[in-house]
């Protein structure tokens, strides 16, 4: 069980959180992009071997949606990689 840092509550057990998935690029204006780009936005989710930015919801705590960087190889919560977009 991971120990996830909530900005309001401090480190709390993963069981208090709901997983919100990897962070996708910002939602484009669907009227300004092609159908292919829109479909890609909807369906493509980052899935790297290594650090990934993801959202967690502190649903059994303060209710905050928060963002962490997690290394998918180790579950370590890491700092934002220098080359992250």
């Amino acid at each position: 069980m991971m120990n996830i840092p909530c900005p309001f509550c401090g480190p709390r057990n993963e069981a208090e959180f709901a997983f919100g998935g990897p962070v996708k690029p910002d939602r484009p204006d669907p009227n300004m992009v092609s159908e292919e780009e829109w479909a890609a936005y909807l369906t493509q989710v980052p899935n790297p071997l290594g650090p990934v930015q993801e959202r967690w919801w502190h649903v059994k705590g303060c209710g905050t949606w928060l963002t962490i960087w997690r290394d998918t190889r180790t579950h370590d919560i890491v700092v934002r990689p220098a080359d992250a977009s």
Binding site: M1, N3, L42, W65, T74, H75, D76
Partner: protein, 970 residues
């Protein structure tokens, strides 16, 4: 005194007899015994039959490494597959062997020995492939016969989980762990030290060593006393650290908590630092018939003579490749057992080892090729390691030691790296992956002085204090030369005794191309099972390495996973049984419902609601028909409280609702409501419901009962991650507003009889309107929504007022014949009207157009969730499945989910039945279905394909009653 006991010594209480039953025999042991030591003290050698070949087996180990004797405990202790070496003896205990029937002495399954050469590794996979493994599995499992699970929960007591935090968690209370705990405890750290044994001391319990100026166990007692007096230390025995997860999260299974009502406790610990002081496990030597009863690990023999006072036999042979067995030979001799010879595969035996056993013959450069004897060992064939004539030596105990493996299981679970050490010929902890240190024998410090020193250092480093002085001790230096298997072995030479895996099986796996160690494991099952190959895995790796001509570290280990040793499901679950994990939700009128005969069940999101209110003499269908007629012809009432309710506040609510609903909400005037659909951005219908605008900046949004929690997550995620600068606040108020929904043509009369200051005329309070005021002198919000298709008043009140309101409605409605309505009738009423039910008519392929709700898809709004996904999908598909009504002909019920196929033939489906109910207004069965191009197929005939018949049905519009909606607007 039984003749197999020593007169004095050990950790048993010879004054306290314990009665127990094993395979039907009444036996006695002493307090302090394990089941295994008591059996050996009773002279019982044959205690098990093997898994595959049903060979006679005895007790091999003295702790969790035991691969052979698994027992099933009966009665109050009921549990299965327990190694006899880990079961503390208890008065009245009833145990029996698994794997044999009717008894280990006369085992019918032993017939498989006769055909054993026909069942090599992979036999079951190859033979029972066709038509499917499932066909054969039950009878094979029965023959293989692991113990049955208990049929009932424990008679008394319960399990619990406890969360805990500590600065330092120490796994193992042997010399290194105790030294570390003492150091850290004195330095003031919050320490937990947990050890799997019933008492502290680890290997010291089994050996005769000194620490300081006295017996090592005196030192242990002193340390334990001091730890137990430190308020910052929790010291647990009979408690296994069985899992080491990410972020230093560990599980500790305490099997005898200090609370008489507790059976077991599972600690879930978050530790600042972890010290693995898990000791080492002796490995077996691989020679012919190394599984005969009486063939035992040397360290186990040492434990039985020293700790349990068991004289294991008259005449022993000790077979070794390392120094540690020399101390065992000395201890056996001291206990009055004749040691006929020490057979050492090494050419050169170190002088310090020889000097321990001055009176015992040492056959250096020799190996045991085969153990002799039928049901138990009677002797051994011994030959020079490099080949040559063999000799026979008689014995009734063969103690063997293949060296020691640091118990790196926990370390590896933590993802700590391993490296192969040539001097110790085993895998050792390398770099840690988390805040962890490995110490003592678990880290390769194989002498007592090194282990104590390392324990003190490691804890001092964690605590940031100076390493304390350690007491002096003496121990035989460790030296080993690997012997992965005896090449001249005759007969079956077992690498894994529990799973009956022999050297030949591993060779076969390699020949057949399973050359990765993980594949070897799966093909042969070596290293699986209860013991997870604690004594034999390294020999499998060694055998693979020898065969492939590569070093062991190139072969590598299989993955170590939790649990380290078996944990009961009760301990893992704790108190989390059904009523605690998934409690039901109730509304304030549950008591009234039960008193009035409601049949209650769950209807989404754990809400327990009345399904129907049967009256005397009514069938299920008659009850529902009556309730439906009451709503259609008179007036009924139901409790709509579980419907998800949210209050939205803020300047940007209208804008936000326009984004999440398919239709426009921002144009609503205060005091107006509107029905809407919500899609996910990829075009799935995720919910429907009504939005009410209370005032410029205040709204109420309702969601379906089952989706309320998911919608809350949806709202919050969008607001917090995509629109953090929008001024919108969402509060779930489902439990703050309860309601009684009065429905039916006489509903307005009931409202008037109740008395209200709200003008409830259809002009003042039209459909989708709402108003606040008093109803029956109770503050209320009255909303004109309808889920039944009839005139409805949803009277929302505070939960504390609902029982009073409910009672007043029953009195006011009595003259009109009002009755409570359950969810079954509600379902019928909504199907008659063709109202959407997310669980029925919506799956991931259906969009609003398919349901005839295209009008709800705003064309004006350039963007909202799901708009573009639906447009793209519709542009790319034809033959959409569309919602239709269905009239089975002749009139009959068709089951929900039944497929529609062209002509009723065995062809790809063109749709499915989503609902079918008996309609009292139509006096026949009516259904809803999703049908390819259904909207243009009204009046056509389709076919419902059932298992035993084909039902013809006529396609209709999906509204079976009041298509114009005049009644609900009345």
């Amino acid at each position: 005194m039984p003749h197999n006991r020593t007169e004095t010594g050990g950790r048993i209480d010879r004054g306290q007899m314990v009665n127990f039953t094993f395979n039907g025999h009444k036996l006695q042991g002493f307090a302090g015994d394990t089941l295994a030591s008591a059996l050996l003290a009773n002279g019982i050698r044959l205690t098990a039959r093997s898994f595959k070949y049903h060979r006679p087996r005895g007790i091999v180990g003295a702790g969790i490494e035991e691969p052979s004797t698994l027992v099933e405990l009966m009665g109050d202790d009921a549990s299965g597959n327990r190694p006899a070496t880990t079961v503390p003896l208890r008065e009245g205990m009833i145990a029996k062997t698994v794997n044999c029937w009717p008894s280990p002495g006369f085992d019918l399954g032993a017939i498989t020995q006769l055909i054993s050469r026909f069942i090599p590794a992979g036999f079951y996979y190859k033979t029972f492939k066709w038509p499917g493994w499932h066909l054969y599995e039950p009878s094979i499992r029965k023959a293989a016969g692991l113990a049955a699970a208990p049929t009932a929960p424990p008679k008394q007591g319960h399990f619990e989980n406890r969360f805990g935090h500590c600065d330092l968690l120490i796994a193992g209370a042997g010399p290194a762990g105790l030294m570390a705990a003492l150091t850290a405890g004195r330095a003031g750290l919050r320490v937990m030290i947990a050890d799997e044994g019933t008492e502290a001391g680890g290997s010291l319990l089994n050996r005769r060593l000194t620490i300081g100026d006295g017996p090592a166990l005196d030192w242990v007692q002193g340390v334990v006393d001091e730890l137990d007096n430190l308020p910052n230390v929790i010291h647990l025995q009979n408690a296994t650290v069985w899992a080491y997860r990410e972020h230093n999260y560990l599980m500790v299974n305490e099997r005898a908590p200090d609370n008489p009502s507790l059976l077991e406790r599972n600690w879930r610990m978050r530790a600042g630092h972890v010290i693995c002081a898990t000791g080492a496990i002796e490995r077996a030597l691989v020679f012919g018939n190394n599984d005969k009863p009486g063939v035992m690990l040397a360290s186990a023999a040492q434990a039985y003579v020293n700790r349990y006072g068991v004289r294991l036999g008259q005449r022993a042979i000790v077979f070794t490749n390392n120094n540690s067995a020399y101390a065992v030979a000395a201890d056996l001799a001291a206990a009055g057992i004749t040691v006929a010879a020490i057979v050492d595969s090494r050419m050169d035996v170190p002088e310090e080892a020889r000097s321990m056993v001055a009176d015992i013959d040492i056959l250096a450069g020799h190996v045991v090729t085969t153990a002799r004897g039928r049901r138990q060992v009677r002797g051994a064939a011994i030959a020079p390691v490099d080949g040559g004539a063999s000799q026979q030596i008689a014995c009734d105990l063969l103690a063997h030691s293949g060296g020691w493996n640091p118990a790196v299981h926990l370390w590896s679970q933590s993802r700590g790296a391993l490296r192969y050490d040539d001097a110790l010929t085993s895998f050792l902890p390398d770099r840690p992956a988390q805040n962890a240190t490995s110490i003592g024998a678990a880290d390769g410090q194989m002498t007592l002085a090194d282990a104590l020193d390392r324990g003190a250092r490691a804890a001092a480093d964690v605590a940031g204090v100076v390493r304390p002085d350690i007491p002096k001790s003496t121990d035989l230096p460790y030296a080993v030369t690997p012997l992965w298997r005896v090449k001249q072995a005759t007969g079956k030479a077992f690498l894994d005794i529990q799973n009956d895996v022999t050297v030949d099986d591993v060779h076969l796996a390699l020949r057949e191309g399973y050359d990765n160690v993980e594949h070897v494991k799966r093909y042969t099952t070596g290293g699986m099972g209860i013991d997870q190959g604690k004594t034999g895995n390294i020999n499998i790796i060694g055998t693979v390495a020898m065969q492939q001509g590569v070093p062991l570290d190139e072969v590598g280990t299989t993955t170590f996973r939790s649990p380290y040793s078996p944990v009961s499901f009760g301990a893992i679950g704790g108190l989390r049984e059904d009523s605690v994990v998934l409690p039901y939700r109730h509304t304030p009128v549950t008591d009234w419902n039960l008193k009035n005969g409601a049949f209650m069940y769950e209807s989404g999101a754990r809400w327990r609601r009345p399904g129907y209110f049967p009256q005397a003499g009514e069938s299920f269908q008659e009850t529902i028909n009556r309730e439906c007629r009451i709503v259609r012809n008179g007036v009924g009432v139901y409790d709509g409280s579980p419907l998800g309710t949210f209050e939205f506040k803020g300047r940007d609510v209208g804008r936000f609702l326009d984004h999440i609903y398919t239709n426009i909400m921002s144009t609503l005037k205060p005091r107006q409501g509107r029905y809407g659909l919500m899609l996910s951005d990829d075009g799935l219908i995720i919910d429907d419901g009504v939005a009410l605008r209370l005032s410029e900046y205040r709204w109420i949004v309702s969601t379906s009962t089952g989706h309320a929690d998911a919608m809350n997550s949806h709202f919050e995620e969008l607001l917090q991650t995509q629109f953090p600068d929008w001024n919108v606040f969402v509060t779930p108020v489902t439990s703050q507003w309860n309601n009684a929904t009065i429905c039916g043509p006489d509903a307005r009369d009931v409202m008037q009889a109740l008395g209200t200051d709200i003008d409830i005329s259809s002009d003042a309070l039209p459909f989708m309107g709402f108003a606040d005021g008093q109803v029956a002198d109770i503050p209320a919000r009255v909303v004109r929504v309808s889920f039944t298709g009839e005139l409805s008043f949803e009277v929302n009140v505070a939960p504390r007022d609902l029982p009073a309101l409910w009672g007043k409605i029953m009195i006011a409605g009595a003259p009109l014949g009002i009755a409570p309505i359950g969810s079954e009738a509600n379902h019928v009423l909504r199907v008659e009207k063709g109202f959407l039910s997310l669980g029925h008519e919506v799956d991931g392929t259906i969009d609003p157009y398919d349901l005839g709700l295209g009008w709800a898809m705003s064309r004006k709004k350039p963007d909202y969730l799901g708009k573009h996904a639906v447009a793209i999908r519709r542009a790319g598909t034809s033959n959409r499945r569309e919602l239709v009504g269905l009239l089975p002909e002749p009139d009959q019920m068709v089951p929900e989910g039944a497929p529609l196929t062209p002509g009723g033939d065995r062809k790809p489906t063109e749709g499915l039945v989503t609902a079918c109910v008996y309609s009292t207004v139509n006096e026949r069965w009516v259904g809803l279905a999703l049908l390819e191009n259904g909207q243009s197929r009204h009046d056509e005939t389709v076919h419902v394909r059932l298992k035993d018949k084909i039902v013809v049905a006529r396609v209709t519009p999906p509204i079976h009653y009041d298509p114009a909606g005049e009644r609900l607007r009345s």
